[in-house]
């Protein structure tokens, strides 16, 4: 190997990218979709409807809990947000040997319980992007290795440029491979900070899995004991064992909350702990829109008379540092505009990885006369890894709409459809010539995405009409995003076909 630093970095960039490129792409695509986790979930649960949530929601929910969940040891209300109008009640009844949990989804205006289809919604993309659907088989370790590899890719990529600034302003359009190289360079420079923060925070989130050694050495119970030392939480609740009635008119508490948290719709969740005890406590959780950290801010009140109780202290700096990286990764602080910006940065990163994979192959195919097995494999995996993944996501959305409402384990079946579609695309890429497979899969993907909003409309026109009537831009936005994805695939298909002819 050559001792020249720059040449070493080029070599490292080429091969570190090749080894984990497809894995990184799958993680970045599903991770980018997770920015719209709540919006996608809303679209995938059309039974929730589009009616705006009335301001009566809290008191109506409390009344319902008071009748349906009398004697429970806790109550919880997850309020609807501007991103997702899912109003969910849950409560726990004391029982031996195991407590029983109940939950109920309420209609946003009539406050009657409604049946919602069983689906993981957008949350599937969030869990997939770090567990790879292999939670018990080390999926999170693979994701961690991929994150470290991304950091190596960024670092070595920076040194691959001979002329960092001139490269940025160069786009050669006469040759496809050169266009791709310049695109890779431009997108690479734009996404450096984004990819860096995302990869570092990914590694920070799972320190207790990736780097448990120091904490295991210093503390008997490892990460759990360390976390208890640096984190803070509300004091433990001691039951008084005197029966009492909980407050069901929330206005008293709402006024106190608004003094502390002045923004609109500050409350994300309301929990009653031991509502039927004289020491019962109400914990109000704030939306994470006002803080970079992923620590949920809470206020505590007595559930009997509503006076404020002591809250939690602030945490140690080390813990806060990790919390802020965690918060930056999740981006729950982002408003709609910033969220779109982050989404575009994520899409640009996907483009960066995909163009890198295609470049690796085409640069080598241009040079060699005799192809070997490696070229063949990379060629096929590129097809399945890039366009196959996009198609599999469409398969997941179709499964959500077309599977029977009452199917047993419906949510798992949707995920199976996702994985099977991906497998089918992989098989298809192996049995067809590469150029044909690219074109045909692109066309199938384009048609699938373009048809999906119409399938949705035919299945139940009410969903779309109601979304239109009540200006539900979450629902309409997902439909528009599907049409856009389909159109981009179609344009790309036409361009690629024209070039081949």
């Amino acid at each position: 190997m050559k001792p020249d630093f720059r040449k070493t970095m080029i070599w490292l960039h080429t091969y570190s990218g090749l080894v984990l490129g497809w894995l990184l792409l799958a993680i970045f695509v599903t991770g980018t979709l997770s920015y719209f986790n709540h919006e996608i979930s809303q679209w995938m649960k059309p039974e929730l409807g589009s009616k705006p949530v009335s301001s009566m929601a809290i008191n109506q929910s409390l009344q319902r809990l008071n009748t349906d969940a009398s004697g429970a040891i806790n109550w919880r209300i997850n309020l609807a947000t501007s991103r997702n109008n899912h109003l969910k009640l849950s409560w726990t009844m004391a029982n031996k040997p195991k407590n029983i949990r109940h939950s109920q989804t309420l209609d946003s205006q009539s406050f009657q319980p409604i049946e919602v289809r069983d689906t993981q919604g957008g949350n599937f993309f969030r869990t997939f992007h770090y567990t790879l659907q292999l939670r018990d088989y080390g999926g999170r370790y693979f994701a961690g290795i991929a994150a470290m590899m991304m950091l190596v890719g960024i670092f070595s990529g920076i040194f691959t440029h001979r002329r960092f600034f001139r490269d940025f302003f160069t786009v050669r359009l006469n040759n496809v491979l050169k266009t791709l190289t310049d695109l890779h360079a431009v997108v690479g420079i734009i996404t450096i900070p984004f990819c860096f923060i995302l990869s570092v925070s990914a590694l920070f989130i799972y320190i207790s899995m990736y780097m448990p050694w120091s904490m295991d050495h210093h503390y008997d119970k490892g990460s759990r004991e360390l976390n208890a030392l640096v984190s803070t939480s509300l004091p433990a609740l001691i039951p008084a064992n005197i029966a009492a009635k909980p407050i069901t008119d929330f206005t008293v508490i709402l006024a106190q909350v608004q003094q502390q948290w002045p923004e609109q719709n500050a409350i994300k969740r309301i929990s009653y702990e031991l509502p039927f005890d004289a020491n019962g406590r109400i914990v109000v959780s704030r939306h994470k829109s006002m803080s970079l950290s992923n620590k949920t801010q809470v206020l505590a009140f007595s559930s009997v008379d509503g006076h404020a109780l002591t809250g939690a202290e602030s945490e140690r700096t080390a813990r806060m540092l990790r919390r802020i990286f965690y918060g930056l990764h999740e981006a729950l602080f982002a408003s709609a505009g910033l969220r779109w910006l982050l989404f575009f940065m994520g899409s640009a990163s996907c483009l960066l990885i995909a163009s890198g994979m295609v470049m690796w192959l085409n640069k080598r195919l241009a040079k060699v006369k005799q192809r070997h097995l490696g070229h063949y494999l990379v060629e096929r995996l590129n097809i399945a890894g890039i366009i196959g993944l996009i198609l599999a996501i469409a398969g997941y959305f179709y499964a959500n709409r077309l599977l029977d409402f009452n199917l047993a384990q419906r949510a798992d079946a949707e995920i199976s459809v996702f994985l099977l579609t991906w497998l089918a695309a992989l098989t298809y890429s192996f049995i067809r010539p590469a150029q044909r497979a690219w074109l045909e899969l692109l066309l199938i993907t384009a048609i699938a995405y373009l048809l999906l909003p119409f399938v949705d409309f035919i299945l139940n026109p009410q969903w779309l009409l109601q979304a239109w009537q009540y200006n539900n831009w979450v629902y309409l936005g997902v439909d528009l995003a599907l049409l856009t994805t389909g159109s981009i695939s179609l344009i790309f298909y036409c361009w690629l076909r024209g070039r081949n002819n």
Partner: protein, 97 residues
Amino acid sequence: MLQLFSHYQLEITARCLAATVGAYCFAIASSLGMVPVFINLFGSLQADAVYFATLYSYFFGFIAIIWSFCQRSALLAWRDIVMACVILMALHFWGTI
């Protein structure tokens, strides 16, 4: 061995091992060895020091990955990583005394 594999292949394998196994061991050594440094130099509490040392260990691991490909030969890369590990572990044991 030398007849079966070319010098180039041995070099690459040794460097890749240094960048994976070596770098991870180096990161572990730093997550232990930096604890007394944080406590004595910056006056951190032990819990904070362990937390920070764990967070910073990725940085050390990353340096080791780059170093294992940049050093003149694989053998030298391994030598540097082992020496750095020894220094960090010495710091760790000095901290426990």
